[in-house]
Every structure is written in structure tokens, then in C-alpha cells.
Amino acid sequence: MSVTKEPVAVVGIGQTKHVAARKDVSIAGLVREAAQRALQDAQLTWADIDAVVIGKAPDFFEGVMMPELYLADALGAVGKPMLRVHTAGSVGGSTALVASKLVASRVHKTVLTLAFEKQSESNAMWGLSLPVPFQQPLLAGAGGFFAPHVRAYMRRTGAPDHIGSLVAYKDRRNALKNPYAHLHEKDITLEKVQASPMLWDPVRYSETCPSSDGACAMILTDREGAARSPQAPAWVHGGAMRSEPTMFAGKDFVSPQAGKDCAADVYQQAGIKDPRREIDLAEIYVPFSWYEPMWLENLGFAEEGEGWKLTEAGVTELDGDLPINPSGGVLSTNPIGASGMIRFAEAALQVRGQAGEHQVDGARKAMGHAYGGGSQFFAMWLVGSEPPQN
């Protein structure tokens, strides 16, 4: 007789209002705020939490080497297991998945998972450009790293130049409906996006993500916990992680194999045959606007070479038939360490029907996606409004 996994429910979600600089709180104060909002949402107290799983950006990004030690008090972790997860930019997603597995395997009943970053107290561009001896410095930061892959995508698919600006214009308008989003550009127009300076040609300023301070927390629990939940839970139907080296002969930077394999695993767990038809929306990690059409193909929402056509046709708009990043996405909010968890949490908010102004009508199945490093770490989950069938 096979032992089935415990179904996992998301019963609490909390975020801080993401901004450029939260100078009024310490890092402890920042994570506390998100965690407390998640507890309030679930109507639970610290005593109800069995374990804490925390994630953050790479250590050089903000100089906090042991968050699990420094933040145990603020997160009520005394006398409980506390774990830290590392996977570069995808960390928020993999952190949630580690927490989810602890519940699914019945190690713990109720787990608090949280991810954060205070970009204002550090410098990610510096963290990505350490002066390694004997290396030739050619670039700094992530934009220059990813821009050549965007050009490769355009060449491979024949996507017209303006697709990136359509994504940015959509995500910034979606952010206006999300009170927690960092950028609220009330006067945004497509013309403004297209007129913004070219930073790493073909990537424009308005097609890149901001630097944010913020934290995101979720409370995951088992069936008993879900039954006590005051609000409708989101149920985890599938979750997976995959990784691959930063560079190897045959690596496809435009559509990495690890991303395809990760999505296929999630769909198999969730019984999804046709993601485009069966999934109502997705929160995917798009730090540079062109990554929307690229990931649409990688995740199987579009055939290879066709992702940009969905964007161009308005399919990915909030009122489109497959809304992508109704929250405004990473393009509007980027506390790097938390960005992946925000994707997972926003997917859960949608299937709980609690996304407010950026709610997608009738959302029943949603995907949360994160990637990190040199397109080498992938973490995804699929959540639904109903408990999983299998």
C-alpha cells in the first residue's frame, strides 16, 4: 500500500507594502510585518506554528549571512526547527516548496514560510560584480547578462521589437491595481515605455525591474489546519524544482531544459494536460519584460516561437484569456529574495479570490514561477481553489 502525501493548503498570506527604501524598520521589523499579516490572515498565533522556513537573496546582496540566526526571535522560531533555503533569485519559490514538502510529508502540520530583501541597504549590482582575480571585467549587473539572450529570442522567433514594451506597459498598469506593488506609475503610457532610454540594447529602462525593500510570508498547513481556516484556502496541486549549470555546451538560455522539466513535473503532479486551457492565470518571474514571451514558451503555454503572439494579442492582459502577472509582477516589485515567494503567494491569493482589484474572475487554478542564477534554478507550483483529486 502506498502512503499518499498530505494535501497542503495555503491559509495565510502577508506582504509588506513594497517600496524603494523602508528606513523605518530593521530587517527584523520588516519580516515581522509580513509574518504577522500572514498570521492575521489565517487567524493563528505564533504558538500555532511548528516550523519556520526562510529564504533570502545571496549573502553578498545584503551582507546578512545567517538570517536564520538573526531573525529567529522576530519570527517566533524559538524551540522550533528553522531552516534557510538558498537558490539565488528563485529562492522565494524554493523556500515555499521546502515548507510545502514539510507539510506534505507530515513532518510538520503548520509551517510559516517567509522571504525578504532590503535592497536599499545593499547593492545587488555590486554583489554580482565581485572583482575576481584574473578575470576580465566586462559587465556589471544582471541586465547586461540577460539582454543577449533576449536578442537571441527575437532572432529565433522573429518577434517584433515592440513586444517587450507591451509587457512592461501591461505589468505597470496591473501594478496600479495592487496596493502592495512598489511602482505605481499613474501616468504610464505605451509611448513612455517606448521612449525610455535603452540601457542594454535591446532592453529599455522601463522594461527592467525596480530595486525594492519588502517581505512576503505564507502559512501552509494540512487538511486539519485547512478545515479550521476562517477563509478559503488555496490548495497545492503540484510543486517542483530543477537546476542546471550556469553554462554548458548545448545550454539553451532562451528556453532552458531545467525550466521545461520543472513545468512538466508540476503539470504531471497536478494532472494538467493542456496548461494553456486548464490554468487560469500565472504569476511568472519576469525581471526584464521580454522574459514573459520567453517563459510562456518554456512553460508550455505557447508553442516554441509563438509566445510573443499571445502577448501581442492581449491574451496575457488582466482581462485576457491567460492573464500573466496580474499583480504587476517582478517588473513592478523586486525585493529579489522575496520576488519568487510573491509570485507563489499571488497565485494563491487569486485562487482564494482575495486579490482585490487585480483579481482574475473565476480563477480556479494558478501557477507561481520563479527562476534564478544564470537561468539555472527553477521553482514552480500550481495552486487550486479545490483540494487536489489525486
Binding site: 524598520v25 530593521s26 526571535d73 584574473f134 556589471a140 541586465g143 547586461g144 539582454a147 536578442r151 535591446p202
Partner: protein
């Protein structure tokens, strides 16, 4: 076997930290020669203060003032002074429970030798002459022969011109070695030869070599000279000035598949207007006197490579 390269690598950054209400009061207090602690739900006095109760997780905000004198609860002799440590000479690390506090604070004790320190000894704060709102406002502790004095008294934590943030510089000193394969590569590049390594299992030629094939997980030993010419597989035009990078803008950052290599390396393209660089452009390295790497790559003048010949390398 070529020389294994080694060089120091210093990683340092002036991280900033917002203090939040409790640490802000504590550090501002030190500037004003006042030591503050915080009272927990069960009336314990924690010095240094924390924002959240280590036992109950409650938010803690009730500040109290404690004494500038205290008792050593344990200690360790620090025989050799290191960069960034207090006092500029050997000293004792002490945990000191200030009068009125229930927990101990870590700091330095100025005494001549380990024989002059013992658990239970009485000490007092020696304040720094110039104080800025930092733990170093306590220059150190020194021996003191008075009895235990003050009880903790309530304090509102209010001061003029409160410190709200600090700079917390971090520095790590490494001795860096790129390892055998990269050392050999770097040495040969400096001699203007591009030498990669072939995987014995999948036959792919890696440049720069890493000493192992990331796909097959086996060591690579066979050296293969590639290039020097190659094909631009993709690129971006950089308009952003990076700190410590002295390259005139705009410039072209390209992925270049050297002839015979199975993945692209990265280089700068020049000798052609930046807006005329294209995928498939044939290029060759340009060396400058004493340069460890090619300064840049320039067009060879050959016809562009057909997309199908390099698309697997993009």
C-alpha cells in the same frame, strides 16, 4: 604542469542598516552615555535590547536604563590584536552583566594580561571621547572596585537627533586560486593562444575550461587550441556605466563562439560602429601590449556566418 595562479581577493562593502525603534534608542543612548535595555513580558531586562521576545516572540518596547558598571560572567583572552578590534593591543573579551540587567553584553576589557581577569570581577564602561551612536561608543570596559549599584529604571527612549541607521562595513579576505584548468587557460591566453579542454565523454570543447565537464561530470584533460577567430552568436549594446569599469559607452558586449569551441565566451566588439554589430559577424581578437586578455574583438572582414552554423551555440 603550469603554475597554479593565486591572488588575494578582498570583498568589502559598506552595508547600511536601518535600526528600527529599539536599536535606534539603544545606540543613541550610548552616544549620550546612557545604557538602555528592554523589559520582557516576564520582567527580565535584556541588555543589549532586542525588538522581539526570544521566548514568547512578543514585540518588546518597554525600555529601561541600566548601570554603567557590571560583573564579568565569563571571558576569553585575545592574545593577538586584529584589524577592526578595539584597543589596539591584546585584551580580554568579556560577557558583562550590567547592574540592573539579566543578560550579558559582549565587549572588551582593558587589562594587561589574562591573570588580571576573572569571572565575577567588577568592571565599568570607559566611554569613547567621540561618540556617534554605535557600540564603539563604549571604548571598552575597565576594572572597577565598587559594589553592585543601580536597579533598572524606566526610560522613554527619547533623545534629540536620534540615530536611525548605521553603516555596517563587511570585509572578507580570501586567497583566490582559479584552479588548474583556469590557470592553464589564463596563462596561455596571456601568450595569445586560446586553449580549451575537450570532454573525454561528450567530446565538447570547453573554453574557458573548468577542468570538468558540467554535463558529464568527468575531468577534462585534453587541451585543444581553438580560434583565434570566431562568430558573434548574440550581443547587447551597453549604455550603462558600471563602477570600476573603464570602458567608453556605448560598447558592444558579445557572446563569441571561437572556431572549434562548443560554447561561446564573452568579449567586447570594437573596430566597427556599435550599431553595425550583428549576430553572425566574424571577429578576431585584438591584443594590447601586456594585456592578460584580448582587449576586444574586431571584424575579420569575412562574410557573416550563416545562422544555421551557430544557432546551437546561442
Amino acid at each position: 604542469m603550469p603554475e597554479l595562479l593565486k591572488a588575494p581577493l578582498v570583498v568589502e562593502f559598506p552595508f547600511t542598516r536601518s535600526l528600527g525603534p529599539v536599536q535606534s534608542a539603544f545606540l543613541t543612548g550610548l552616544r549620550e552615555r546612557t545604557v538602555l535595555g528592554v523589559k520582557t513580558s516576564d520582567d527580565k531586562i535584556l541588555v543589549p535590547p532586542v525588538e522581539y521576545d526570544p521566548v514568547t516572540a512578543d514585540e518588546l518596547r518597554d525600555l529601561v536604563e541600566v548601570g554603567a558598571t557590571g560583573t564579568v560572567t565569563t571571558w576569553a583572552w585575545n592574545p593577538e590584536h586584529r584589524r577592526g578590534q578595539p584597543l589596539g593591543k591584546p585584551f580580554a573579551w568579556i560577557l558583562v552583566k550590567l547592574d540592573g540587567a539579566d543578560t550579558a553584553l559582549l565587549h572588551a576589557l582593558d587589562v594587561d594580561g589574562p591573570d588580571a581577569v576573572h569571572t565575577g570581577m567588577r568592571v565599568r564602561i570607559r566611554w569613547a571621547e567621540e561618540r556617534t551612536g554605535a557600540i564603539t561608543d563604549i571604548a571598552c570596559f575597565e576594572p572597577y572596585d565598587g559594589d553592585e549599584a543601580s536597579e533598572a529604571t524606566p526610560h522613554d527612549g527619547e533623545f534629540e537627533d536620534k540615530v536611525s541607521g548605521i553603516v555596517a562595513p563587511a570585509r572578507l579576505d580570501y586567497m583566490y586560486s582559479p584552479g588548474r584548468a583556469a590557470s592553464a587557460y589564463i596563462t596561455s591566453v596571456a601568450e595569445r593562444k586560446m586553449v580549451g579542454e575537450r570532454c573525454p565523454s561528450c567530446s565538447k570543447v570547453y573554453i574557458p575550461p573548468r577542468g570538468a565537464c558540467p554535463t558529464c561530470g568527468v575531468a577534462t584533460r585534453e587541451e585543444v587550441e581553438v580560434g583565434p577567430s570566431g562568430t558573434v552568436t548574440t550581443f547587447c549594446i551597453v549604455n550603462v556605466k558600471a563602477k570600476n569599469l573603464d570602458i567608453e559607452l556605448p560598447y558592444v558586449y558579445a557572446h563569441i563562439a571561437l572556431d572549434g569551441a562548443d560554447l561561446a565566451l564573452h568579449g567586447r566588439i570594437a573596430g566597427i560602429p556599435y550599431d553595425q554589430v550583428r549576430m553572425g559577424l566574424r571577429v578576431e581578437p585584438v591584443w594590447t601590449e601586456g594585456g592578460r586578455y584580448p582587449d576586444h574583438y574586431r571584424p575579420t572582414g569575412e562574410p557573416d556566418a550563416d545562422y544555421d552554423t551557430y544557432k546551437e551555440l546561442v
